[in-house]
Symmetry: C2
Subunit: 294 residues, 2 copies
DNA sequence: CCAATTTGTTCGAAAAAACTGAATAGTTTT
DNA sequence: AAAACTATTCAGTTTTTTCGAACAAATTGG
């Protein structure tokens, strides 16, 4: 490869500044140096880059190719160096965080803000996953950290997880729903006539398992917790929801919890990650989340 | 930019050959030179690229980024140099030739073969255009040369063209078509009951003008001359076709020409190009086509 | 287990490359 | 016609790169 990036920079400067003299000045060199550099480049590559026109030099077509493509080359080179520095700093180039839909995104934002203030240069991607989908994202390397969602029922090699929150599930309806007029506690038979809203598992491979499915009940399947809340609030259907995600709507009174004979589950929520993840950002988030009082 | 392509090549060689010593040998240098190159690179970039492990050196994560991204950088650089050489040679990097559908592609293949044997490195793209579409391709720089098709009805600035062939249009039907049983010459009224096959103009902007449209006739619109021939041969419809494109089918007898009262047109076919085109390949093709006896 | 081999590094000397500054010649501006 | 600006040439200097011998550490082989 008879070509140096330095020569490409010289070429760029000559074109940008409009003359050898001005470019030399900008590069803190002397004009004759640029003459030397360009002549050497021409000799190395075997074609003419500048031809004289009056008292100034203009690019040949081949020279123009070198200039223009060389510029993208220089940009790509700088990007590579930046990336290498980022990797060397120990901070990942990119960190994918999967938020299970049961987790409240709002709760996570302060942590994210705090991280951004560290100025690590790490690109953060937030993925939303549902139920089993979150763990799958971890296993398949689509995510580095999973926040919320269940622990694997069988321990998985190389995966670590820790409980971060107790999520209490309640049976919920809109404040204007017929069931609010019924005697409590509600039996399965009393609930059965009404449409129930169910979140569809986002995992791509796992067998489909709907959460707390009641057999004969009519169902509407939705993709996220937020959709489920909206539909229940609108009175379209009923279902179980984690209390912490709807506390504000319970306070406002648009949603109400109703006692059921079926005991309401308390499902623990986990933070999961790969044990072999040595990245600083991943470590920071895990430590930060586990230390959080929720 | 404190980085040289040479250093990236050294890095590549060390990884490929597995050791400083082997790489040095491959690069016709001495091992200590590579040590110097790498140490200088590390100093310039400000991070460690190799760390010792036993008696050999292994890449750090940042070093691996440099190696892998550096490789694509080297490839891109070489591609740029090749392209510059191609441009310098005066031969275009790419030449787009639009063949109007009236032109016989088969006739053009020997010329193309001849060109390929010149080993110019020019990438040839063949476009198929219909009627006015071919000239439009030229104006809009999608094509460098247009072969076949009409001359512009108003002379266009910067465009050159020359007649290359007299295309004689005949009224054609399948050999089993009812019209073959009729008294000749055919009048418009005799033709009108039968479906006519019409080529749809491929130009994107020009007002639509179907060729030799007969008013009350049923029509089927097709996209190319080849399709038109197929449909007529199948007896689906009838229409005017350039004699030179169907000579073999006339000889075989699957198609027949019928005399009409309407005089059959003799439309000249042109080769068109931009006058400011200085490329060697464009010039070669134009000269070659104009000198051809057809 | 010890000698031989292979590894990468250090260091002084030598070679090559890059850079400088003054002189020069051509072109445009004033 | 002089002044200002262009890029280039060239001899001399500085910097960078390369070499080769000597060395230390790690592995291999008999």
């Amino acid at each position: 490869m008879k070509l140096t990036l330095d020569a490409l920079e010289v070429l760029d400067a000559i074109d940008k500044k409009g003359s050898f003299a001005a470019a030399a000045n900008a590069l803190f060199r002397v004009p004759s140096t640029l003459t030397y550099t360009i002549q050497k480049l021409e000799e190395d590559l075997g074609f003419v880059i500048f031809r004289k026109e009056g008292r100034r030099s203009v690019l040949t077509p081949a020279g123009r190719v070198l200039l223009e493509e060389g510029r993208s080359l220089l940009l790509a080179t700088q990007a590579m160096i930046d990336k290498a520095h980022q990797v060397d700093s120990g901070w990942e180039v990119r960190l994918n965080i999967a938020l299970d839909t049961v987790w409240d995104t709002q709760q996570f934002l302060p942590i994210l803000t705090e991280f951004q203030q560290l100025n690590t240069g790490v690109e953060i991607n937030l993925l939303e996953e549902v139920m089993g989908g979150s763990l799958e994202a971890l296993i398949e390397d689509r995510a580095d950290i999973v926040l919320g969602g269940p622990a694997p029922n069988t321990p998985i090699q190389g995966l670590q997880f820790k409980e971060v929150i107790q999520s209490q599930w309640c049976f919920v309806t809109a404040n204007h729903h017929p069931l609010t007029q019924t005697n409590l506690p509600l039996t399965n038979e009393m609930i059965a006539p009404y449409t129930s809203i169910v979140i569809k598992d986002s995992s791509r491979h796992s067998p489909i398992k709907s959460h707390r499915l009641m057999d004969k009940q009519k169902q509407i399947k939705v993709a996220s917790m937020q959709q489920k809340i909206s539909l229940i609030e609108a009175g379209i259907g009923v279902g179980f929801l984690p209390k912490h995600k709807i506390q504000n709507k319970l306070d406002e009174g648009t949603l109400v919890t109703l006692e059921t004979t079926e005991p309401t589950a308390i499902t623990p929520q986990y933070c999961s990650w790969k044990s072999n993840n040595k990245g600083k950002a991943a470590r920071w988030f895990i430590d930060r989340i586990l230390s959080e009082k929720i």
